[in-house]
């Protein structure tokens, strides 16, 4: 539906053929392989996938917190090395912010909320004068719906609930007026009843502050809800296997993996969920990163796999006929692809 790419403007962040490899006990861990992504201002991109598939790694590379091993990452169209001078680098640094998953670990227990917010404000001269500083803190806390701010500003993180803490994390990221926020499972540890509130607030912030948000989650229902106006990228073992506008990916999934995921999600509706059709996988277990299967990494589990095809060559990420999203599945790209599945 909405593929917000005003071709003229350079993307905020662009990943081109990015690889990330770790060496661990003589093994090569191929955590990310050939990742291509563009994030434009004010866009929502959602990364979903199972645990360990490289979502956080991608997020950190996007946020500029991690250097990749191969490929190219461009910030506003330029490689990071071209940002010379302290001022420029600082500006770039501040453009990209991250909100962590664990609200217990992401706030320093030794400081009050007021302190946590005032450090970046002071350091980057975002405000001048004490009164302005305090006014700004007040504003930020109001912005993230922590009202009245006086109730939280002098408290320590442990005195707040998980949801409140997550809001503080967001407020902290906002202190430096970023252009992009990577929200890494930002609500998976807060309670169901408050999640929606935080997501709504993020939506509002995106609109008010023209933020781009990279939303990382393994909860497809949540992804669907949050990224309805953006795109979803499904990752499997370090690769993006499907990417496209959310309604398409959710409503008409292309890749077998995405389909399996969607089918596996229980629904908060007894009738619906008990009659949902399952896609039985051939194997329960996800292969180790150190031993990624050749060809399509999903083929050992894929119920639709074509022997001799899927295990032989890497499927390209392309738009299959009849779909609006890109998917990396060889059978799909073949003429009879659609038929085989009986969509």
């Amino acid at each position: 539906m909405i593929n917000p790419a005003p071709a003229a403007a350079a993307p905020l962040v662009a990943l081109r053929h990015v690889y990330q490899t770790y060496k661990k006990d003589n093994h090569l861990l191929r955590v990310l392989q050939d990742i291509n992504l563009e994030i434009h201002p004010n866009e929502i991109l959602c990364l979903v996938g199972e645990s360990g598939c490289g979502k956080t790694t991608t997020g950190k590379i996007i946020a500029g917190l991690l250097t990749h091993t191969e490929g190219e990452v461009l910030f506003k169209g330029r490689p990071p090395a071209s940002y010379t001078g302290a001022r420029e680098r600082a500006d770039l640094r501040r453009t990209l912010q991250i909100v962590h998953q664990d609200p217990f670990a992401s706030l320093n227990p030794a400081h009050t909320i007021g302190q946590i917010l005032s450090y970046p404000l002071q350091r980057h001269g975002m405000v001048s004068g004490r009164a302005a500083l305090r006014r700004r803190i007040w504003e930020l806390l109001t912005l993230v719906d922590l009202t009245p701010p006086g109730d939280v500003v002098n408290k320590y993180p442990h005195q707040l609930s998980g949801g409140q803490r997550q809001r503080v994390s967001i407020a902290r990221a906002l202190t430096v007026q970023p252009g992009l926020i990577v929200a890494d499972e930002a609500v998976s540890m807060v309670d169901v009843s408050i999640r929606i509130g935080i997501l709504k607030m993020l939506h509002r912030l995106r609109e008010e502050l023209r933020l781009a948000i990279v939303f990382i989650t393994h909860d497809l229902a949540l992804a669907k809800y949050f990224a309805w106006e953006g795109r979803i990228a499904v990752m499997y073992l370090g690769r993006i296997v499907e990417i496209g506008p959310t309604p398409q990916v959710i409503g008409q999934p292309a890749h077998p993996y995405t389909r399996a995921l969607l089918a596996a999600v229980p629904e908060a509706d007894p009738d619906l969920t008990r009659h949902k059709q399952q896609i039985p996988l051939r194997s329960e277990d996800i292969p180790a990163l150190a031993a990624i299967p050749p060809g399509c990494a999903f083929h050992p589990r894929c119920p639709f796999h074509v022997p001799g095809l899927c295990d032989a060559s890497l499927p390209p990420l392309a738009v299959p006929a009849g779909f609006q999203q890109q998917a990396a599945c060889l059978p799909l790209h073949q003429p009879e692809g659609l038929r085989r599945y009986g969509t």
Partner: protein, 395 residues
């Protein structure tokens, strides 16, 4: 010099009493008589104990506490529930000062409460306090008995040792001197040196450990190799050699020597701790916010290690005390009396342990050391609470 020299003297008391007028005055201004009086007493007391060194910092602390009582009623814009437009964020310098002092005062109070909350910790605190008071004020009550007293020899006795009696509750030592007075006077030096050694060990360990962890690479390897090297040095001959080359005249030199020999274990622990803290999400957030290495080290990492560091510092103090006594025991330090270590050394040499009339010369300092260490151990439990904001403010 004014400072420690004024310990437990009338000038010290005067200094303290004068210092105490400040919190008292402020308290009167705010009509908070009780904290004011307590503040005055605290100032007088610590001035008495440590002269300027105790009195002046105490002014700040007690004043802060006084203000923290008074400030409750002040309107901090942040505590108001008014809308943004109605809130006035301007404040004068005085208001800022008051606000900061009140914050400090609140922390002090919370710290005190945390200190008192843990039963074992509180007993430990009392123990440490007892030894402190004994070392500082004990000398006022019990004069130092430094001269031999051949005249105190009991008829028929071959020695001047005497078993405890009503007149000499801990008996007499080999020179016929009052053991009690030596116990009272003999702690200062040892406690001070051990304390200094512990502090220095901790400083070296923390600095090197933090550097190794934060800088990594070659620095890390060099420091780690160096610490391994120190660990394998046989300390006994090293001390022998050093003792023949250096005179451990000052407590500082002795403490430094200990610090130089004992930092490696703590350094490794600190390194591991910093490495793990560095991985914390909030550190990553600070990097993303571009807060700078100094900020990250001092504001993000360090405060979370304080409790760990302090507990380890106390541990180092205990180890240092044990080792200093050992060094004295080997006779490698100038035997400056009065000193618990020297008592054990000379007592052993004079065969004090062979005889029930003389055994107190060794037992008394040994018990003093053991009890002091016990107090320290128990005290650390309270300290953990004091330094942990989670425990501290969960009132």
């Amino acid at each position: 010099m004014i400072g420690f020299a004024t310990i437990a003297t009338v000038p010290g008391l005067l200094i303290g009493m004068v210092c105490g007028l400040i919190p008292l005055g402020i308290a009167l201004y705010y009509r908070q008589l009780r904290p004011g009086l307590l503040g005055w007493l605290a100032c007088a007391f610590s001035g008495f104990a440590c002269g300027f060194l105790g009195g002046v910092p105490m002014i700040v602390l007690t004043t802060a506490v006084v203000i923290s009582y008074a400030y409750v009623n002040k309107q901090d814009p942040f505590t108001s529930r008014a809308a943004l437009a109605e809130v006035n964020f301007e404040e004068t310098r005085l208001e800022l000062l008051l606000r900061l002092l009140a914050g400090l005062g609140n922390s002090v109070r919370a710290g005190l409460v945390a200190l008192l909350r843990n039963k074992a910790g509180f007993i430990g605190f009392l123990g440490v306090l007892f030894f402190f008071l004994m070392s500082v004020f004990g000398p006022l009550l019990i004069p130092y008995d430094g001269r031999p007293h051949p005249d105190r020899r009991l008829p028929e006795s071959r020695t001047l040792f005497q078993a405890p009696s009503a007149q000499f509750p801990l008996g007499l030592d080999w020179q016929g001197r009052d053991i009690l007075s030596h116990v009272v006077h003999g702690g200062q030096g040892l406690i001070l040196t051990a304390g200094l050694a512990g502090v220095l060990t901790t400083i070296i360990a923390v600095v090197l450990g933090a550097l190794a962890a934060l800088l990594g690479g070659v620095v890390d390897q060099v420091f780690s190799a160096f610490s391994n090297f120190i660990l394998t040095i046989p300390q006994f001959p090293l001390l022998l050699v050093l003792a023949s080359v250096l005179t451990f005249e000052s407590n500082v030199a002795l403490a430094l020597l200990f610090a130089l020999l004992s930092w490696p274990t703590l350094m490794r622990a600190v390194r591991a701790q910093v490495l793990s803290l560095r991985e914390r999400d909030y550190v990553e957030a600070a990097i993303a916010l571009d807060l700078g290495l100094w900020h990250i080290t001092l504001r993000e990492v360090l405060p979370n290690m304080i409790s760990y560091i302090v507990v380890n510092m106390i541990f180092s103090i205990r180890v240092a005390m044990y080792s200093i006594v050992g060094l004295v025991f080997l006779g490698m330090v100038p035997l400056r009396e009065p000193d618990w270590g020297v008592m054990i050394f000379v007592g052993r040499q004079q065969g004090a342990l062979s005889n029930s009339i003389s055994v107190w010369m060794v037992l008394a300092p040994v018990l003093a050391i053991a009890l002091f260490q016990l107090s320290l151990v128990m005290f650390t439990r309270s300290l953990e609470e004091v330094f942990n904001p989670r425990l501290r403010s969960g009132l």
